[in-house]
Protein backbone atom coordinates (compact mmCIF):
# COMPACT_ATOMS: atom_id res chain seq x y z
CA UNK A 1 0.00 0.00 0.00
CA UNK A 2 1.38 3.34 -0.93
CA UNK A 3 1.37 5.64 2.02
CA UNK A 4 -0.75 8.75 1.86
CA UNK A 5 0.99 12.04 2.21
CA UNK A 6 -0.12 13.55 5.45
CA UNK A 7 -0.09 17.30 5.56
CA UNK A 8 -0.94 17.74 9.19
CA UNK A 9 1.26 16.27 11.86
CA UNK A 10 -0.63 15.69 15.08
CA UNK A 11 1.20 17.38 17.94
CA UNK A 12 1.99 14.68 20.44
CA UNK A 13 4.38 15.30 23.26
CA UNK A 14 6.96 12.54 23.08
CA UNK A 15 8.29 13.09 26.53
CA UNK A 16 6.12 14.22 29.36
CA UNK A 17 7.46 15.42 32.66
CA UNK A 18 8.35 12.10 34.29
CA UNK A 19 9.48 10.25 31.23
CA UNK A 20 13.12 11.01 31.28
CA UNK A 21 14.22 7.63 32.61
CA UNK A 22 11.43 5.38 31.36
CA UNK A 23 12.08 3.24 28.35
CA UNK A 24 9.62 3.14 25.47
CA UNK A 25 7.86 -0.21 25.04
CA UNK A 26 5.79 0.65 22.01
CA UNK A 27 6.53 3.48 19.63
CA UNK A 28 3.97 4.06 16.91
CA UNK A 29 5.18 6.10 13.96
CA UNK A 30 2.99 7.51 11.21
CA UNK A 31 0.57 4.61 11.47
CA UNK A 32 -2.31 4.56 8.98
CA UNK A 33 -4.89 1.81 8.72
CA UNK A 34 -7.69 1.26 6.29
CA UNK A 35 -10.63 -1.14 6.37
CA UNK A 36 -11.15 -1.26 2.60
CA UNK A 37 -11.62 2.41 1.74
CA UNK A 38 -12.37 3.45 5.29
CA UNK A 39 -9.39 5.30 6.70
CA UNK A 40 -9.73 4.12 10.30
CA UNK A 41 -6.40 5.27 11.78
CA UNK A 42 -4.80 8.46 10.55
CA UNK A 43 -1.14 9.15 11.02
CA UNK A 44 -0.89 7.91 14.60
CA UNK A 45 2.26 8.81 16.50
CA UNK A 46 2.31 7.55 20.08
CA UNK A 47 4.96 6.42 22.54
CA UNK A 48 4.05 4.03 25.35
CA UNK A 49 6.30 3.64 28.33
CA UNK A 50 7.41 0.83 30.55
CA UNK A 51 5.55 0.18 33.83
CA UNK A 52 2.89 2.67 33.04
CA UNK A 53 -0.81 2.50 32.37
CA UNK A 54 -1.70 4.26 29.15
CA UNK A 55 -5.41 4.89 28.68
CA UNK A 56 -6.97 5.33 25.28
CA UNK A 57 -10.21 7.25 25.33
CA UNK A 58 -12.56 8.54 22.68
CA UNK A 59 -16.11 8.15 21.38
CA UNK A 60 -17.36 4.97 19.68
CA UNK A 61 -15.89 4.48 16.25
CA UNK A 62 -12.86 6.71 16.90
CA UNK A 63 -10.40 3.89 16.23
CA UNK A 64 -9.23 3.11 19.75
CA UNK A 65 -10.10 -0.61 19.63
CA UNK A 66 -8.64 -0.84 16.12
CA UNK A 67 -5.46 0.72 17.44
CA UNK A 68 -5.08 -1.62 20.40
CA UNK A 69 -5.73 -4.63 18.13
CA UNK A 70 -3.03 -3.34 15.80
CA UNK A 71 -0.50 -3.43 18.62
CA UNK A 72 -0.57 -7.26 18.63
CA UNK A 73 -1.48 -7.48 14.94
CA UNK A 74 -4.84 -9.05 15.75
CA UNK A 75 -6.42 -6.50 13.45
CA UNK A 76 -4.99 -8.43 10.50
CA UNK A 77 -7.61 -11.10 11.14
CA UNK A 78 -10.16 -8.66 9.73
CA UNK A 79 -10.56 -8.92 5.96
CA UNK A 80 -9.36 -6.18 3.66
CA UNK A 81 -7.14 -4.37 6.16
CA UNK A 82 -4.18 -2.37 4.89
CA UNK A 83 -1.58 -0.66 7.02
CA UNK A 84 1.23 1.81 6.50
CA UNK A 85 3.73 3.22 8.97
CA UNK A 86 5.55 1.50 11.81
CA UNK A 87 4.90 0.17 15.26
CA UNK A 88 8.14 -0.46 17.08
CA UNK A 89 7.82 -2.94 19.92
CA UNK A 90 11.06 -2.94 21.90
CA UNK A 91 12.70 -1.18 18.96
CA UNK A 92 11.62 -3.71 16.32
CA UNK A 93 8.99 -2.99 13.71
CA UNK A 94 6.18 -5.52 14.22
CA UNK A 95 5.21 -5.22 10.54
CA UNK A 96 8.60 -6.40 9.30
CA UNK A 97 8.34 -9.45 7.05
CA UNK A 98 10.58 -11.51 9.28
CA UNK A 99 8.81 -10.53 12.49
CA UNK A 100 7.20 -13.54 14.19
CA UNK A 101 3.68 -12.62 15.18
CA UNK A 102 3.45 -15.63 17.55
CA UNK A 103 6.43 -14.25 19.45
CA UNK A 104 4.72 -10.86 19.65
CA UNK A 105 1.54 -12.35 21.07
CA UNK A 106 3.54 -14.28 23.65
CA UNK A 107 5.00 -11.02 24.87
CA UNK A 108 1.79 -9.03 24.59
CA UNK A 109 -1.29 -10.41 26.34
CA UNK A 110 -4.81 -9.20 25.68
CA UNK A 111 -7.93 -8.95 27.81
CA UNK A 112 -11.26 -8.30 26.14
CA UNK A 113 -14.45 -6.48 26.99
CA UNK A 114 -16.36 -9.67 27.76
CA UNK A 115 -14.57 -12.25 29.89
CA UNK A 116 -13.81 -15.21 27.61
CA UNK A 117 -12.63 -18.13 29.72
CA UNK A 118 -12.23 -21.48 28.00
CA UNK A 119 -14.92 -24.09 28.82
CA UNK A 120 -12.40 -25.82 31.03
CA UNK A 121 -11.47 -25.97 34.69
CA UNK A 122 -10.00 -22.90 36.37
CA UNK A 123 -6.67 -24.72 36.54
CA UNK A 124 -6.67 -25.68 32.86
CA UNK A 125 -7.57 -22.14 31.80
CA UNK A 126 -4.37 -20.89 33.33
CA UNK A 127 -2.23 -23.89 32.41
CA UNK A 128 -3.35 -23.74 28.77
CA UNK A 129 -0.75 -21.24 27.57
CA UNK A 130 2.23 -22.71 29.44
CA UNK A 131 1.29 -26.20 28.17
CA UNK A 132 1.28 -24.90 24.59
CA UNK A 133 4.73 -23.56 25.29
CA UNK A 134 5.81 -27.07 26.18
CA UNK A 135 5.64 -27.06 29.96
CA UNK A 136 4.45 -30.50 31.06
CA UNK A 137 5.86 -30.81 34.58
CA UNK A 138 2.84 -30.80 36.89
CA UNK A 139 4.71 -29.20 39.75
CA UNK A 140 5.84 -26.32 37.57
CA UNK A 141 2.34 -25.92 36.11
CA UNK A 142 0.89 -25.80 39.63
CA UNK A 143 3.34 -23.10 40.55
CA UNK A 144 2.51 -21.07 37.46
CA UNK A 145 -1.23 -21.41 38.10
CA UNK A 146 -0.91 -20.25 41.69
CA UNK A 147 1.44 -17.39 40.83
CA UNK A 148 -0.80 -16.20 38.00
CA UNK A 149 -3.98 -16.40 40.05
CA UNK A 150 -2.27 -14.58 42.90
CA UNK A 151 -1.02 -11.97 40.45
CA UNK A 152 -4.57 -11.40 39.25
CA UNK A 153 -5.82 -11.11 42.85
CA UNK A 154 -8.20 -14.06 42.55
CA UNK A 155 -6.23 -16.89 44.21
CA UNK A 156 -7.98 -16.68 47.57
CA UNK A 157 -11.37 -16.89 45.91
CA UNK A 158 -10.65 -19.95 43.76
CA UNK A 159 -7.83 -21.89 45.44
CA UNK A 160 -10.22 -24.51 46.81
CA UNK A 161 -12.01 -25.12 43.53
CA UNK A 162 -9.36 -25.13 40.87
CA UNK A 163 -10.90 -28.14 39.16
CA UNK A 164 -14.33 -26.52 38.79
CA UNK A 165 -15.44 -25.14 35.46
CA UNK A 166 -14.44 -21.51 34.94
CA UNK A 167 -17.96 -20.73 33.72
CA UNK A 168 -19.15 -21.09 37.31
CA UNK A 169 -17.27 -17.93 38.32
CA UNK A 170 -18.91 -14.51 38.44
CA UNK A 171 -18.27 -12.05 35.61
CA UNK A 172 -15.73 -10.12 37.68
CA UNK A 173 -13.95 -13.32 38.69
CA UNK A 174 -13.95 -14.55 35.08
CA UNK A 175 -12.31 -11.31 33.98
CA UNK A 176 -9.61 -11.62 36.62
CA UNK A 177 -9.18 -15.26 35.55
CA UNK A 178 -8.59 -14.03 31.98
CA UNK A 179 -6.02 -11.58 33.29
CA UNK A 180 -4.38 -14.46 35.20
CA UNK A 181 -4.38 -16.48 31.98
CA UNK A 182 -2.45 -13.66 30.32
CA UNK A 183 0.02 -13.51 33.22
CA UNK A 184 0.70 -17.26 32.98
CA UNK A 185 2.84 -16.79 29.90
CA UNK A 186 4.76 -13.97 31.60
CA UNK A 187 4.07 -11.25 29.07
CA UNK A 188 5.72 -7.87 28.87
CA UNK A 189 2.64 -5.86 27.93
CA UNK A 190 -1.04 -6.22 28.73
CA UNK A 191 -3.56 -4.83 26.26
CA UNK A 192 -7.02 -4.34 27.73
CA UNK A 193 -10.01 -3.51 25.59
CA UNK A 194 -12.70 -2.12 27.90
CA UNK A 195 -11.98 -4.80 30.49
CA UNK A 196 -14.57 -3.64 33.00
CA UNK A 197 -17.44 -2.52 30.81
CA UNK A 198 -19.34 -5.75 31.47
CA UNK A 199 -18.67 -5.74 35.20
CA UNK A 200 -20.56 -4.41 38.21
CA UNK A 201 -19.02 -1.52 40.20
CA UNK A 202 -17.47 -3.76 42.86
CA UNK A 203 -15.81 -6.07 40.32
CA UNK A 204 -14.75 -2.99 38.35
CA UNK A 205 -13.00 -1.64 41.41
CA UNK A 206 -11.20 -4.94 41.96
CA UNK A 207 -9.96 -5.02 38.37
CA UNK A 208 -8.89 -1.36 38.62
CA UNK A 209 -6.94 -2.08 41.79
CA UNK A 210 -5.39 -5.05 40.05
CA UNK A 211 -4.34 -2.90 37.07
CA UNK A 212 -2.62 -0.49 39.44
CA UNK A 213 -0.72 -3.36 41.06
CA UNK A 214 0.16 -4.98 37.74
CA UNK A 215 1.85 -1.92 36.38
CA UNK A 216 4.73 -2.53 38.80
CA UNK A 217 5.73 -5.45 36.58
CA UNK A 218 3.96 -4.89 33.27
CA UNK A 219 3.20 -2.11 30.85
CA UNK A 220 -0.53 -1.74 30.35
CA UNK A 221 -2.56 -0.17 27.59
CA UNK A 222 -6.25 0.11 28.30
CA UNK A 223 -9.11 1.21 26.11
CA UNK A 224 -11.93 2.57 28.22
CA UNK A 225 -15.21 4.40 27.79
CA UNK A 226 -15.19 5.27 31.45
CA UNK A 227 -13.59 8.69 31.86
CA UNK A 228 -13.29 8.38 35.63
CA UNK A 229 -11.60 5.02 35.21
CA UNK A 230 -9.02 6.51 32.86
CA UNK A 231 -8.51 9.36 35.32
CA UNK A 232 -8.18 6.98 38.28
CA UNK A 233 -5.83 4.34 36.97
CA UNK A 234 -3.76 5.65 34.08
CA UNK A 235 -0.50 7.59 33.97
CA UNK A 236 -0.90 8.76 30.38
CA UNK A 237 -4.00 9.30 28.33
CA UNK A 238 -4.42 9.47 24.58
CA UNK A 239 -7.61 10.97 23.20
CA UNK A 240 -8.70 9.54 19.83
CA UNK A 241 -11.27 11.16 17.56
CA UNK A 242 -12.23 10.10 14.03
CA UNK A 243 -9.13 7.93 13.74
CA UNK A 244 -6.71 10.60 14.90
CA UNK A 245 -4.84 11.17 18.14
CA UNK A 246 -6.05 14.60 19.19
CA UNK A 247 -4.04 14.80 22.39
CA UNK A 248 -1.64 12.65 24.40
CA UNK A 249 -0.30 13.76 27.75
CA UNK A 250 -0.06 13.03 31.46
CA UNK A 251 -3.48 11.90 32.63
CA UNK A 252 -3.47 14.64 35.28
CA UNK A 253 -3.15 17.24 32.55
CA UNK A 254 -5.70 15.68 30.19
CA UNK A 255 -8.32 15.70 32.95
CA UNK A 256 -7.54 19.13 34.37
CA UNK A 257 -6.18 21.39 31.66
CA UNK A 258 -6.30 19.68 28.27
CA UNK A 259 -4.79 21.81 25.53
CA UNK A 260 -7.21 20.89 22.75
CA UNK A 261 -10.80 22.09 22.95
CA UNK A 262 -12.05 18.82 21.45
CA UNK A 263 -10.48 16.90 24.35
CA UNK A 264 -12.11 19.23 26.85
CA UNK A 265 -15.47 18.89 25.09
CA UNK A 266 -15.23 15.10 25.14
CA UNK A 267 -14.12 14.59 28.75
CA UNK A 268 -16.69 17.05 30.06
CA UNK A 269 -19.43 15.23 28.16
CA UNK A 270 -20.23 17.90 25.61
CA UNK A 271 -20.21 15.19 22.95
CA UNK A 272 -19.48 11.48 22.48
Amino acid sequence: MSSLSMSTEVPVKKETKDHVNKSVVYDTKNLNLWYGDNHALKNINLPMHENEVTAIIGPSGCGKSTYIKTLNRMVELVQDVSISGEILYRDKNIFDKNYRVEELRTRVGMVFQKPNPFPKSIFDNIAYGPRIHGIKDKKILKEIVEKSLRGAAIWDEVKDRLQENAYGLSGGQQQRLCIARCLAIEPDVLLMDEPTSALDPKSTLKVEELIKELKENYSIIIVTHNMQQAARISDKTAFFLNGEVIEYDDTDIIFSTPSDKRTEDYITGRFG
Binding site: M227, S256, P258, E264, I267, T268, G269
Partner: protein, 219 residues
Protein backbone atom coordinates in the same frame (compact mmCIF):
# COMPACT_ATOMS: atom_id res chain seq x y z
CA UNK B 1 -33.38 18.58 29.02
CA UNK B 2 -30.27 16.52 28.34
CA UNK B 3 -28.07 15.50 31.28
CA UNK B 4 -25.36 17.82 29.96
CA UNK B 5 -27.93 20.61 29.49
CA UNK B 6 -29.08 20.16 33.07
CA UNK B 7 -25.51 20.34 34.34
CA UNK B 8 -24.85 23.52 32.36
CA UNK B 9 -27.99 25.03 33.81
CA UNK B 10 -26.93 23.99 37.33
CA UNK B 11 -23.54 25.64 36.77
CA UNK B 12 -25.29 28.80 35.73
CA UNK B 13 -27.60 28.65 38.77
CA UNK B 14 -24.53 28.20 40.98
CA UNK B 15 -22.98 31.32 39.53
CA UNK B 16 -26.28 33.13 40.02
CA UNK B 17 -26.27 32.19 43.70
CA UNK B 18 -22.74 33.50 44.10
CA UNK B 19 -23.72 36.75 42.42
CA UNK B 20 -26.57 36.99 44.93
CA UNK B 21 -24.09 36.38 47.78
CA UNK B 22 -21.81 39.00 46.23
CA UNK B 23 -24.65 41.52 46.12
CA UNK B 24 -25.39 40.90 49.80
CA UNK B 25 -21.73 41.37 50.74
CA UNK B 26 -21.49 44.51 48.62
CA UNK B 27 -24.59 45.92 50.30
CA UNK B 28 -23.29 45.11 53.80
CA UNK B 29 -20.08 46.97 52.98
CA UNK B 30 -21.86 49.95 51.43
CA UNK B 31 -24.31 50.26 54.29
CA UNK B 32 -21.55 50.09 56.89
CA UNK B 33 -19.64 52.86 55.18
CA UNK B 34 -22.80 54.94 54.73
CA UNK B 35 -23.67 54.50 58.42
CA UNK B 36 -20.19 55.71 59.37
CA UNK B 37 -20.40 58.63 56.97
CA UNK B 38 -23.83 59.70 58.23
CA UNK B 39 -23.08 58.74 61.82
CA UNK B 40 -26.20 56.54 61.84
CA UNK B 41 -24.78 54.10 64.34
CA UNK B 42 -28.12 52.43 65.04
CA UNK B 43 -28.08 50.99 61.54
CA UNK B 44 -24.92 49.09 62.29
CA UNK B 45 -26.79 46.58 64.46
CA UNK B 46 -28.91 45.59 61.45
CA UNK B 47 -25.79 45.02 59.39
CA UNK B 48 -24.35 42.78 62.12
CA UNK B 49 -27.62 40.82 62.32
CA UNK B 50 -27.85 40.42 58.55
CA UNK B 51 -24.50 38.66 58.37
CA UNK B 52 -26.33 35.47 59.30
CA UNK B 53 -28.04 35.53 55.89
CA UNK B 54 -24.67 35.77 54.17
CA UNK B 55 -23.36 32.80 56.17
CA UNK B 56 -26.46 30.76 55.38
CA UNK B 57 -26.22 31.44 51.68
CA UNK B 58 -22.55 30.46 51.63
CA UNK B 59 -23.43 27.13 53.27
CA UNK B 60 -26.22 26.57 50.74
CA UNK B 61 -23.75 27.23 47.90
CA UNK B 62 -21.31 24.72 49.44
CA UNK B 63 -24.05 22.08 49.62
CA UNK B 64 -25.10 22.69 46.03
CA UNK B 65 -21.52 22.51 44.76
CA UNK B 66 -20.79 19.34 46.74
CA UNK B 67 -23.86 17.67 45.31
CA UNK B 68 -22.90 18.66 41.78
CA UNK B 69 -19.45 17.13 42.22
CA UNK B 70 -20.94 13.94 43.67
CA UNK B 71 -23.56 13.55 40.95
CA UNK B 72 -21.70 14.71 37.86
CA UNK B 73 -18.05 13.94 38.63
CA UNK B 74 -16.96 16.96 36.60
CA UNK B 75 -13.47 17.36 35.12
CA UNK B 76 -11.35 20.12 33.56
CA UNK B 77 -13.11 23.49 33.20
CA UNK B 78 -16.38 22.15 34.65
CA UNK B 79 -14.56 21.08 37.80
CA UNK B 80 -12.70 24.37 38.01
CA UNK B 81 -15.95 26.31 37.84
CA UNK B 82 -17.28 24.41 40.84
CA UNK B 83 -14.05 24.57 42.83
CA UNK B 84 -13.80 28.30 42.13
CA UNK B 85 -17.41 28.79 43.20
CA UNK B 86 -16.46 27.27 46.58
CA UNK B 87 -13.41 29.49 46.86
CA UNK B 88 -15.19 32.67 45.80
CA UNK B 89 -18.14 32.06 48.10
CA UNK B 90 -15.75 31.46 50.98
CA UNK B 91 -13.87 34.71 50.23
CA UNK B 92 -17.15 36.61 49.96
CA UNK B 93 -18.30 35.22 53.28
CA UNK B 94 -15.06 36.44 54.88
CA UNK B 95 -15.65 39.86 53.33
CA UNK B 96 -19.07 39.84 54.97
CA UNK B 97 -17.43 39.05 58.30
CA UNK B 98 -15.04 41.95 57.83
CA UNK B 99 -17.99 44.31 57.26
CA UNK B 100 -19.36 43.07 60.57
CA UNK B 101 -15.98 43.78 62.19
CA UNK B 102 -16.09 47.27 60.67
CA UNK B 103 -19.59 47.80 62.02
CA UNK B 104 -18.52 46.68 65.52
CA UNK B 105 -15.56 49.04 65.49
CA UNK B 106 -17.78 51.85 64.21
CA UNK B 107 -20.12 51.29 67.15
CA UNK B 108 -17.21 52.13 69.43
CA UNK B 109 -16.63 55.41 67.68
CA UNK B 110 -18.50 58.39 69.02
CA UNK B 111 -18.91 61.79 67.54
CA UNK B 112 -17.91 63.82 70.59
CA UNK B 113 -14.45 64.03 69.21
CA UNK B 114 -13.90 65.69 65.90
CA UNK B 115 -11.98 63.35 63.63
CA UNK B 116 -13.17 64.73 60.33
CA UNK B 117 -9.81 64.67 58.64
CA UNK B 118 -9.41 60.96 59.42
CA UNK B 119 -12.94 60.21 58.40
CA UNK B 120 -12.36 61.78 55.05
CA UNK B 121 -9.31 59.63 54.39
CA UNK B 122 -11.04 56.50 55.64
CA UNK B 123 -14.07 57.08 53.44
CA UNK B 124 -11.91 57.77 50.44
CA UNK B 125 -10.15 54.45 51.00
CA UNK B 126 -13.54 52.76 51.41
CA UNK B 127 -14.77 54.13 48.11
CA UNK B 128 -11.73 52.59 46.35
CA UNK B 129 -12.57 49.23 47.94
CA UNK B 130 -16.20 49.63 46.95
CA UNK B 131 -15.20 50.01 43.30
CA UNK B 132 -13.05 46.88 43.62
CA UNK B 133 -15.92 44.82 45.02
CA UNK B 134 -18.20 45.86 42.20
CA UNK B 135 -15.51 45.29 39.55
CA UNK B 136 -14.52 41.85 40.80
CA UNK B 137 -18.12 40.68 40.97
CA UNK B 138 -18.69 41.75 37.36
CA UNK B 139 -15.43 40.09 36.28
CA UNK B 140 -16.55 36.89 38.01
CA UNK B 141 -20.00 37.04 36.44
CA UNK B 142 -18.44 37.41 32.98
CA UNK B 143 -15.40 35.14 33.61
CA UNK B 144 -13.37 38.09 32.37
CA UNK B 145 -9.64 37.57 32.84
CA UNK B 146 -8.64 41.02 31.59
CA UNK B 147 -10.91 42.75 34.10
CA UNK B 148 -9.69 40.39 36.83
CA UNK B 149 -6.10 41.39 36.13
CA UNK B 150 -6.97 45.07 36.62
CA UNK B 151 -8.03 44.33 40.20
CA UNK B 152 -4.37 43.99 41.24
CA UNK B 153 -3.62 47.62 40.37
CA UNK B 154 -6.70 48.73 42.30
CA UNK B 155 -5.51 46.76 45.31
CA UNK B 156 -2.17 48.56 45.16
CA UNK B 157 -4.10 51.85 45.49
CA UNK B 158 -5.95 50.64 48.56
CA UNK B 159 -2.74 49.31 50.13
CA UNK B 160 -1.00 52.61 49.63
CA UNK B 161 -3.98 54.57 51.03
CA UNK B 162 -3.93 52.23 54.04
CA UNK B 163 -0.20 52.83 54.58
CA UNK B 164 -0.66 56.59 54.48
CA UNK B 165 -3.68 56.47 56.77
CA UNK B 166 -1.84 54.48 59.44
CA UNK B 167 1.15 56.83 59.14
CA UNK B 168 -0.99 59.89 59.66
CA UNK B 169 -2.67 58.27 62.67
CA UNK B 170 0.72 57.61 64.27
CA UNK B 171 1.72 61.22 63.76
CA UNK B 172 -1.41 62.59 65.44
CA UNK B 173 -1.54 60.07 68.30
CA UNK B 174 2.01 61.04 69.20
CA UNK B 175 1.02 64.61 69.94
CA UNK B 176 -2.67 64.55 70.85
CA UNK B 177 -4.13 62.93 73.91
CA UNK B 178 -7.63 61.59 74.58
CA UNK B 179 -8.30 60.31 71.13
CA UNK B 180 -6.46 56.99 71.31
CA UNK B 181 -9.58 54.80 71.57
CA UNK B 182 -11.24 56.57 68.64
CA UNK B 183 -8.20 56.51 66.46
CA UNK B 184 -7.52 52.87 67.23
CA UNK B 185 -11.03 51.93 66.08
CA UNK B 186 -10.44 53.89 62.89
CA UNK B 187 -7.17 52.06 62.38
CA UNK B 188 -9.06 48.79 62.77
CA UNK B 189 -11.67 49.88 60.25
CA UNK B 190 -9.00 50.85 57.76
CA UNK B 191 -7.33 47.46 58.27
CA UNK B 192 -10.65 45.69 57.60
CA UNK B 193 -11.12 47.69 54.40
CA UNK B 194 -7.63 46.77 53.30
CA UNK B 195 -8.37 43.08 54.00
CA UNK B 196 -11.59 43.30 52.00
CA UNK B 197 -9.59 44.64 49.06
CA UNK B 198 -7.18 41.70 49.46
CA UNK B 199 -10.09 39.28 49.25
CA UNK B 200 -11.18 41.00 46.05
CA UNK B 201 -7.71 40.30 44.68
CA UNK B 202 -8.02 36.66 45.78
CA UNK B 203 -11.27 36.37 43.89
CA UNK B 204 -9.64 37.94 40.84
CA UNK B 205 -6.96 35.21 41.01
CA UNK B 206 -9.67 32.55 41.17
CA UNK B 207 -11.31 34.02 38.08
CA UNK B 208 -8.04 33.64 36.18
CA UNK B 209 -7.72 30.06 37.45
CA UNK B 210 -11.28 29.26 36.43
CA UNK B 211 -10.65 30.39 32.88
CA UNK B 212 -7.02 29.38 32.29
CA UNK B 213 -6.49 26.56 34.76
CA UNK B 214 -3.45 28.34 36.15
CA UNK B 215 -2.86 30.02 39.48
CA UNK B 216 -1.69 33.57 39.15
CA UNK B 217 -0.45 35.63 42.06
CA UNK B 218 -1.79 39.16 41.68
CA UNK B 219 -0.35 40.41 44.94
Amino acid sequence: MTIRGQFVSELSELKGEIMRLGAMVERAFDETIEAIRKKQYAKLDDIIDNDKNINDLELAINDKATLMIAKQQPVASDLRKIIVSLKVSSDLERMGDLSVDMAKSALRLNDRINLEKFEEELLSMASKAKIMIKAVLIAYRDSNVLEAQKIAAMDDDVDSAYGKFIQSIFEVVAVETGITEQVTQMAFISRYIERIADYCTNIAEWIIYEVNGKRFDLN
